[in-house]
């Protein structure tokens, strides 16, 4: 039906970078200043942001190398080649569970934050359900179209962030920022770990490299895709501490949204900017969730080739929704998130790195 050439259905290096940035910038960015302020207790958290960015980049570089070894092959296919078929099944299934839980986390986060900033009476269940339906609709369409949405929404999100930062510049007090370099390395490392949770997402390189026009560009895409969040996190952390001081930031649930709350647009055209800020933010959380659900489905269809995408969406959605509804309160919710990301450390970082080493040692390589 389509007159498009194959080349247009593949994604470029920059597009992949934007995908990584979009999937990383999600809920984490709204909460990380709290974790960081709690760990370091000072402005020095910026060192942690850079440090964890570097670690993420090294891991991401290795993941990209692994995926680039096997161009046009799915995660399941190359794990099967490297470490036998049964291991491939187990690993892919684990990844599916992990990515699916991530969708649950994102949609529940939407529900929680909307409840806090936008609604008074609407139940979380309905907010979450409507969001899940939209994510389903996106994933049901073509994959390249879903990825193109990142290109559309990420700039909008940047514009909003830029506006918020512009209007909070006058509220930054230099007193809040001082003293510099007061934290010891132990707390900095703790902060690094905390921010590291907010960087999770770049592992999509493992699954989307097969769509890249030139899979060897993967490492560069990782560099671009992580540079954007690192810079964004740095700026936001500086502003949060500058405006609130570390002491206050510790006790704010969503410090980044609270930052938007401080904005006063001259002329009083809008009030309560944080609602608008979060409304726009829904777009990037949408991108993150759509990509996670899509990755779950890529992996499932690569294992069970006979079941179609639509069937998987229909099977997965109730499970995703059910898991999303499990946490009873915010504390539950955040501990769920932490456990999820820690298990991700093993499933999508550690194991693929081991796989890369195995592939290197055994000398297995995919073919174009």
């Amino acid at each position: 039906m389509s007159a498009q050439t194959l080349a247009e259905k593949l994604i470029s290096k920059n597009h992949m970078g934007i995908n990584i940035a979009s999937v990383t910038i999600g809920v984490g960015i709204l909460t990380f200043p709290r974790t960081l302020a709690k760990a370091t207790g000072a402005f020095d958290g910026w060192i942690s942001v850079i440090l964890s960015g570097l670690i993420a980049w090294i891991i991401g570089w290795m993941l990209a190398k692994l995926a680039a070894r096997f161009p046009r092959q799915t995660f399941f296919e190359y794990t099967s080649i490297i470490a036998s078929k049964p291991v491939g099944y187990v690993l892919t299934a684990l990844v599916c569970v992990y990515t699916m839980m991530f969708v649950s986390f994102e949609i529940r986060a939407i529900g929680n934050i909307s409840k806090q900033y936008l609604f008074y009476n609407t139940p979380v269940e309905m907010i979450t359900l409507s969001f899940l339906l939209i994510v389903q609709y996106a994933v049901a369409g073509s994959r390249i179209a879903m990825l193109r949405l990142n290109l559309l929404f990420l700039p909008v999100v940047f514009v909003v962030i830029a506006i918020v930062l512009l209007f909070t510049t006058q509220l930054v007090e230099i007193e809040n920022v001082r003293p510099f370099f007061s934290s010891d390395w132990r707390s900095l490392l703790k902060g690094t770990e905390g921010v590291g949770l907010s960087y999770s997402g770049f592992e999509i390189i493992l699954f989307y490299t097969m769509l890249m026009r030139n899979p060897q560009d993967g490492p560069r895409a990782i560099a671009l895709g992580l540079a954007i969040p690192v810079l964004l996190y740095l700026t936001i952390y500086m502003f949060v501490i500058g405006v609130f001081s570390a002491e206050v930031a510790k006790n704010l649930t969503y410090p980044t949204i609270e930052l938007a709350k401080e904005v006063e647009i001259p002329g009083g055209f809008f009030e309560r900017v944080e609602s608008i800020f979060f409304t726009i933010w829904i777009m990037t959380i949408f991108n993150t969730s759509a990509m996670w659900l899509d990755i779950t489905i890529i992996n499932l269809t690569s294992m069970f080739t006979r079941i179609t995408k639509i069937v998987w969406i229909l099977i997965l959605s109730p499970i995703v929704y059910f898991i999303a509804m499990l946490p009873q309160n915010l504390v539950d919710f955040f501990s769920f998130a932490d456990r999820l990301t820690y298990s991700g450390f093993i499933i999508v970082y550690l194991i693929p790195i081991i796989l890369l080493l195995m592939a290197k040692m055994r000398g297995v390589k995919g073919h174009e």
């Binding site: 039906m1 389509s2 007159a3 498009q4 050439t5 247009e8 597009h15 909307s114 936008l118 609604f119 609407t122 309905m126 907010i127 409507s130 969001f131 939209i134 609709y137 996106a138 369409g141 073509s142 179209a145 879903m146 193109r148 949405l149 290109l151 559309l152 929404f153 009083g268 055209f269 809008f270 009030e271 309560r272 609602s275 608008i276 409304t279 726009i280 829904i282 777009m283 949408f286």
Partner: protein, 525 residues
């Protein structure tokens, strides 16, 4: 006339009975006889001797042979019929010293080669073809005893004079528009595109209506893959009658569930010429001034030819305004509902109080209020379209009174609602493409429902949903949102901005033109 139908698209499955029926209708063999009288009888029975059938038998010059002219009165150019055909046949006595031969077939050859001073002549011996030609405005010349018939091209019926396109007015730009006559329309394109590579591929659609269809493109620019796809889709058209280009459009479009138009229609020749130069394809259909342009993008639908005729600053500002209009046309009532119902805190307090004060006494929730007003507006718009101009104004006055004043004084709606509805209406009139404006009107209701349920959150979800749909949508396989996504920064000079004309050195890359540059020096900027 048989159309192959190659696609597996669902709606085509229903089409095979049409072909069978048509075949049965044409099946009794009608053969051309050498006897003139017999032929005339066959034609009369085939056509049912209609009132406008013109049959004139006469002697050829000073020979003893009869001939007959068959035509449809009104379809042929009668001056030509008299001056170039009838009088020449009657005066065919002897030419250049040669005596007139006696053999019918030789006479026919002589008529064909020497006597008739008409530019386009053909011979045919297939009676069905001959009847088709007569029905489309040609003259058939039968010679008694000959086994062939001369077809004289003499189409010349009365057409309306060209007028300024009603649906697409411009302040600056050419005033001519297409007409219902396909030949006039090709002339209008040809006069603007004097490139030797301009192609008009003709065919017919409609098993019964046999409407002429022309695919126009510039061969050295257009992407051959696109052209093949267009031709393939047109070949699948299998329908009895095609009255308007809308039939073709709906048959070949990519997604019939989408509210968005995937093929553009215009009655401006300058727009079609510009599209051809960009590497697009145009489809002209006989009997309608609406010419189809494809493939299109949403950007193209929000552009007007005037953007290029005015200086670039004016063009750019007009475009910015239209993108804003598109946004307002879909979302302004939804925002009103969301703000009043769910988030009065978002509005500055003073304004919130004054809105609340004006809404005091309005018995309906904001959603019902908006629904009533927006529906009234749709009604007025629909009513105004169909009515003759003098009454149309009355509708405007009545509508203005009802919407503007009476409804407010009666306490049914609040004054702010009136402002919102007026803003929405004006915004949707600012969209240059009428089908796109219709799509936005539909989506407006969707956004209003979402806002009524989920407030501003619902509005954003609607926005995301529309975007998902648009990224998935294609026009003849080419992405609808190009060059926004897939991103083609080289095309952004002519998207929301309209860069100075000297900067626009490349054709839209999303169309994969064979010849990429518009200037001879190439892209030197």
């Amino acid at each position: 006339m048989l159309r192959r139908f190659l696609t597996t698209r669902r709606k085509k499955k229903t089409s095979s009975p049409f072909i069978k029926k048509a075949l049965q209708q044409q099946s009794p063999p009608v053969l051309l006889s050498t006897r003139l009288q017999e032929n005339m009888e066959t034609i009369k029975t085939e056509l049912g001797a209609p009132h406008d059938l013109l049959i004139r038998s006469l002697l050829i010059g000073n020979t003893r042979h009869m001939c007959a002219i068959v035509a449809i009165d009104g379809l042929v150019n009668s001056d030509m019929l008299h001056d170039q055909v009838l009088s020449h046949i009657q005066l065919m006595i002897s030419m250049a010293g040669k005596s007139v031969p006696d053999e019918p077939q030789t006479i026919l050859g002589l008529l064909y080669e020497e006597v008739l001073s008409v530019s386009e002549l053909n011979k045919s011996s297939n009676l069905i073809d001959i009847i088709d030609c007569v029905l489309s405005g040609d003259i058939a010349l039968f010679v008694d005893g000959a086994s062939e018939v001369i077809i004289i091209d003499s189409k010349g019926w009365k057409t309306r004079a060209t007028e300024e396109p009603v649906s697409e007015g411009v302040v600056r730009g050419p005033r001519d528009g297409f007409t219902e006559n396909i030949r006039d329309n090709t002339v209008r394109i040809r006069r603007r595109v004097k490139d030797k590579n301009l192609r008009f591929d003709g065919s017919y659609v409609g098993v019964r209506s046999k409407t002429a269809l022309i695919i126009a493109y510039i061969d050295s620019i257009v992407d051959p893959e696109m052209l093949n796809e267009v031709k393939r889709r047109i070949a699948t058209i299998d329908i009895d009658e095609v009255e308007e280009s809308g039939f073709v459009e709906q048959w070949i479009e990519d997604d019939f569930l989408s509210p968005f138009p995937q093929i553009h229609n215009t009655e401006r020749p300058d727009k079609v010429a510009a599209a051809l130069f960009q590497g697009r394809v145009a489809i002209l259909l006989d009997g309608t001034p609406m010419v189809l342009i494809l493939p299109i993008t949403i950007g193209l639908l929000l552009h007007s030819p005037e953007d290029y005729y005015d200086r670039w600053i004016a063009g750019t500002l007009a475009r910015l305004l239209r993108y804003l209009a598109a946004f307002l046309a879909v979302f302004s009532p939804a925002f009103y509902i969301a703000l009043v119902t769910f988030h009065p805190g978002l509005i500055p307090s003073d304004l919130a109080f004054s809105i609340a004060a004006t809404r005091d006494g309005v018995p309906f929730p904001a959603f019902v209020e908006s629904l009533m007003m927006v529906t009234t507006m749709e009604l007025l718009q629909e009513a105004g379209l169909r009515l003759p101009k003098p009454i149309g104004q009355t509708v405007g006055i009545v509508g203005g009174l009802v919407i503007g004043d009476a409804a407010v004084s009666a306490g049914i709606v609040s004054p702010v609602m009136v402002i919102v509805v007026a803003l929405t209406a004006i915004a949707s009139f600012a969209i240059p493409s009428y089908p796109l404006a219709i799509a936005f009107r539909m989506l407006r209701f969707l956004a209003m429902f979402a806002a009524a349920i989920f407030g501003i959150y619902g509005v954003v979800l609607t926005f995301i949903m529309i975007m998902i749909h648009l990224t998935n949508l294609t026009s003849i396989g080419y992405p609808y949102l190009a060059p926004f996504t897939p991103q083609m920064p080289q095309d952004w000079k002519d998207l929301i901005l309209r860069a100075p004309i000297t900067f626009l050195r490349k054709r839209p890359g999303s169309l994969h033109p064979k010849d990429e540059t518009r200037t001879r020096t190439g892209d030197s900027t």
